[in-house]
Each structure stands twice: as C-alpha cells, then as structure tokens.
C-alpha cells in the first residue's frame, strides 16, 4: 500500500493553505477513473459535483472559512447509503435510476465537516455477500488491488478496495449487517470500524436487515477510520433505533497497551493455520507490550451464530425488499397485467440470484406455520448469544480473533463453494453483528503478500476501547 497523509495531517495542511483541495480532488478522481476500468470499485464516480464542491471549499478557505474535521477530505460512500442526487442503487438493478431527494444522516454529517463525496462504491447486491461476488444484474465485481484474481471481500468491497488502492488521503463510508465492513477490510489490508448498533443513524440507508445494519467507516489506518466514525456518530431523531449515548473522542484516542484481552478459542480453531499464526503473532506482541491475554470460550456463538444470523437477516431482508416493485422509483416496466403480475415481473428481472435466494429463505422463515420454528427461534437464540458475550465482557475489555478464516480467495475458489459454505465463512464476524457489538478489523500480518485481519470486539458503546486496541495492534512491528 502506498503511503498517504493520515487524514488529520491532511486536514491540518489544508487549513494552513498548503494543499489545494481542487488539485487533490482532481488527482483522486483521475485515479478513481483510471483504476475503475480494471478494478470496478465504483458504481458511480461523481466528478462534476466533487470538483465543484472542492472549488467552493478552496474559495471558502481564502475568505477565512476553514472549519471542519474533514475539510477537503475525499470520501467514498457505499452504494446502499443515499447521497442526494447521486444514483443510489445498493448494487442492484432494481434501483436503476433512483436519485435520492436527501442525504443519509451519515453523509450529511460528513459533508458538514467539509468532506467531499467523490463516488458510490461497489458492493454485493443489498449487502448479500461475503466476497462482493454477488453483485447485482449487469454490475461488475470489484477486484482486490493486491491481486485482481482475488475478491475484495464483502459486502463493502468497493470501499475497502479503493481505500487500499488509492495513494491519496481518503476514507470510506461502509455498512455492515453480518461483517460487511470487517471482511473486506481484512481481505484488502485496511482498517474497518463497525460501531455499536444505533450509534450511527441509519436514516438514508437502503436497509438489508433493520435490526442488524450499522453504517461504519474504512480507512488506510485506524486513525483515519476513527475520525470518520466520530464525525458520523450521534443521536438522530429520524432513526427510531438511534441511541442517545454520550459521544466519544475516537480520533484522538491513544493506543492502549494495558487492555484485558480475551482470545476466542472457537473462532481461532475454525481458521486456516496461516491465518491463526499471523493473528497469534500480533496477540503475543500485544502481551509483550503490556496487555493481559487469556483464552476464552464462546461455544454457543460458535455453534449457533451462523444459523441464527442467516434466519434473522433473511427474514428482515425479505420484508425490506418487498417495497421494490417498479412503481415509485427504480426499475420500471410497462404497466401490464394485474399488480401481482407486474410486481413479480419487475422483481424477477431486477433482483440477482443471491437476492432471490435470500428473499426465498426469509419469506419461508416467516411464513405462517414456520415462523415459530425458524424466525422466532432464531430471535430467542440471539438472546442467549448476547448473554454469552455479556458474561465474557465482565472481566475483559476486548475480544480478539481472526476476522476471516482465510486470506482473500480467488473468484474460482469462491465459485466452488455452495451458498451454505459461503455463509459459513462469516463464522467469526456474524456473532458480534448479531449482538450489535462494536468491532474493528486491522491488518495483523501477511501471508504471501495477502493481508490477514485481526478482529477486535468491544462491549456495547465501548468504541473508544475498540479504537485503542486497534491502534495498539496496528502499531506493532
């Protein structure tokens, strides 16, 4: 990865007048356009509006208006997060042509701090994937900048891919339902932060599963991602699940070396040996630096996490996606037949294979006669899994494990996996997401030049500890 200025340094230079925002924005747009024909990290590059915005900020600085924690910072936004007047499709053909009338709260907050939105990033359709291989009909898969035969991870694949690729100051807004920030961060070797459920407003997010979705951040370093996460966090009356929690200073959180760390035995055992080895090396170093490390066990989460997560998330997805029917926005057709025939026709054309699979699974799990045995059962199991985490955090600050059980696989390797085998790859990331816990993925090491991610999970609303641990792990040499 090429060395870029960290965002806080970049903003400092901007405020001193040492960086022209217009020039920097032009450079990163050029890089995005040039790389996109090969790597497909973008579903949309917003050249005109980004350059216009950059010029406005430059002019403002000249007249003494130079406030903002992200002044002039180019930000990419996962396609499922609405940006006013930017085609926002959540990676799906069914949202073709949809131009939101408003900014998502997270986007509005970033803009208010001076960020420049340069484009929408590629993803698995609606977030339905672990590798960004399940892109929508007529979309291109984003490729890993370290080796284009390999995936970026998913579902925030374009966000992580471009964060790794760019040589310039930049950060990205991602979104996680079951690990969609951590997975691509791990495979692309960048930092990904997912907050506590409710910490960041979901207003303006094209939802996958309401009780699981979190908007978060990706950056080349934890500090970059933490600055963006700090900016987008906070209560929002437009989201009824938004938390009234005290804000934390994440950007300036110092790396902490005296944390009590729990190493999750079952998650480690499920990973490839080379991945285990790189993560253990990082954990050993954290211990040398002063952390207390102990092995802990989360047997219920390891055994039941995947099943509970996929039943919960697909059930919610199947109701969320019911609104897409070719009437009010997105893909349209000629109004023929009765409403059932018309809606079914548009939906069958607009949704890709994995979206259909998950809609079917979720519709089944909540259908009369099956709801108690599948959906409701999964929700009760979820209670048990949350309790297991709660117990673990009684004596520990953070839990650690490999983010993904393997390094970024090639697309031909992925194609050999059945859907169930692909779901099973989320073993380490799904439990924290099901419990709404904040978690980070940072680069722990490499195997044959391919990054290995270490996942750090903290208790509810303990984002600061998560960032402190992530910075400590990242600083290890």
């Amino acid at each position: 990865m090429k060395k870029a200025l960290e965002l806080h340094e970049f903003v400092k230079e901007v405020k001193r007048g040492n960086i022209s925002i217009a020039e920097h924005t032009e450079k990163i747009l050029e890089e995005a356009e040039k790389s996109n024909s090969k790597f497909h990290h973008f579903n949309l590059i917003a050249k005109k509006s980004a350059l216009q915005h950059a010029k406005e900020i430059d002019a403002g600085i000249k007249t003494g208006q130079h406030k903002g924690k992200l002044l002039g910072v180019p930000i990419t936004v996962k396609d499922c997060i609405c940006v006013k007047n930017f085609e926002s499709r959540a990676g799906s053909k069914i949202l073709t042509g949809y131009l939101p009338l408003f900014d998502a709260t997270a986007v509005a907050k970033a803009k208010a701090e001076g960020a420049i939105i340069i484009g929408k990033t590629a993803q698995d359709e609606f977030g339905f994937g672990t590798f960004s291989n399940n892109v929508g009909v007529d979309f291109e898969k984003p490729l890993n900048p370290i080796d284009p035969k390999r995936c970026c991870g998913g579902s925030s694949g374009g966000s992580a891919g471009f964060t790794a690729l760019t040589s310039l100051a930049h950060a990205s807004l991602g979104q996680s339902t079951g690990g969609s920030i951590a997975s691509p961060a791990s495979f692309c070797g960048v930092a990904g932060l997912t907050p506590t459920y409710g910490r960041v407003s979901r207003y303006g997010l094209i939802d996958y599963a309401n009780s699981l979705d979190k908007i978060g951040s990706l950056g080349k370093t934890t500090a970059d991602a933490a600055l963006l996460l700090e900016v987008i966090s906070g209560y929002d009356m437009n989201d009824s699940t938004s938390l009234k929690a005290e804000a934390q200073d994440l950007a300036n959180a110092n790396p902490s070396n005296d944390l009590r760390i729990g190493v999750v035995k079952e998650f480690f055992k499920a990973c490839e040996e080379k991945v285990q080895k790189e993560c253990m090396k990082a954990i050993d170093k954290l211990e040398e630096e002063g952390a207390t490390v102990e092995e802990i066990s989360l047997p219920l989460n390891a055994k039941y996490g995947i099943a509970a997560y996929y039943l919960a998330s697909t059930t919610e997805a199947s109701t969320n996606l019911a609104r897409f029917c070719g009437m009010r926005y997105g893909l349209h057709g000629k109004l023929e037949g009765n409403f059932n025939e018309y809606f079914s026709k548009i939906r069958s054309q607009g949704f890709g294979t994995e979206a259909k699979r998950r809609i079917l699974l979720g519709t089944f799990a909540r259908m009369s006669g099956f709801r108690d045995a599948y959906y409701l059962k999964a929700m009760k199991v979820r209670t048990k899994l949350i309790k297991e985490f709660r117990q673990a955090f009684e004596n520990l600050d953070v839990l650690v494990n490999p983010t993904m059980p393997l390094v970024a696989p090639t697309f031909s390797e992925i194609n050999k996996l059945s859907p169930l085998q692909q779901y099973a790859m989320d073993l380490c990331t799904v439990p924290a997401n099901l419990a709404g816990l904040p978690h980070a993925s940072v680069k722990a090491g490499e195997h044959n030049k391919l990054p290995v991610g270490l996942m750090i999970t903290a208790d509810h609303l303990q984002e600061k500890k998560m960032v402190q641990a992530a910075k400590a792990a990242e600083g290890l040499k």
Binding site: L101, L300, A322, R328, E341
Partner: protein, 96 residues
C-alpha cells in the same frame, strides 16, 4: 423443524415473495435451500423455552416524534423518481 421444503412449497414461497422462478432457478434453489435449512436445524439442539426473543440487539425505548407539522416532500418531489404517474398521482398496475 422437521418440515422440509419441496418444489410445491418453494413455489408457494416464491409466489408470496412475488418472484417468478424459471425451471433452471427452481432446480438451483431447491437443493440449496434444503441444504441450508437442514444445517440450520441445529437450532433444535439449544433450549430457549425460557428466553425472550431479541428483536433488537440492545434494549430500545419506544420513541415518538413531537406532534407538530413539519415540512415534507412536495407532490412533485415525491413523484420525481417514477415514470408511472398521472395528474400528480402514482399510476399503478390494475388491481382488479
């Protein structure tokens, strides 16, 4: 959880979900969904009869906004994203 999905049930589910499945899709999805649901049967091995369901990961309070008139989308804005409109209204397919 002994119920298993067969072709008839799959078609019923698809109809509920407003999806037309091709023969090829049925052939692909049926064994995949059977495999997935069989694996998820492991939820039968955990006792949760005394547990309450967690519809949210952390406890939330019911919130309601203040009952005041606020600015909302104009009719024109609300219709901006559709091609199916007539006289300031959405135009939908036939209901009857």
């Amino acid at each position: 959880m002994t119920e298993k999905v067969d072709k008839k049930l799959l078609l019923r589910v698809a109809e509920n979900a407003r999806l037309n499945l091709s023969e090829k899709e049925i052939e692909e999805f049926l064994p995949q969904l059977q495999e997935i649901l069989k694996a998820f049967d492991r939820l039968d091995t955990i006792d949760v009869k005394d547990e309450k369901p967690s519809f949210q990961p952390i406890p939330l309070e019911n919130v309601a906004r203040h009952d005041v008139v606020e600015k909302c989308l104009s009719q024109e804005q609300a219709l901006k994203n559709t091609k199916n409109k007539k006289d300031g209204y959405f135009m939908g397919p036939k209901v009857m």
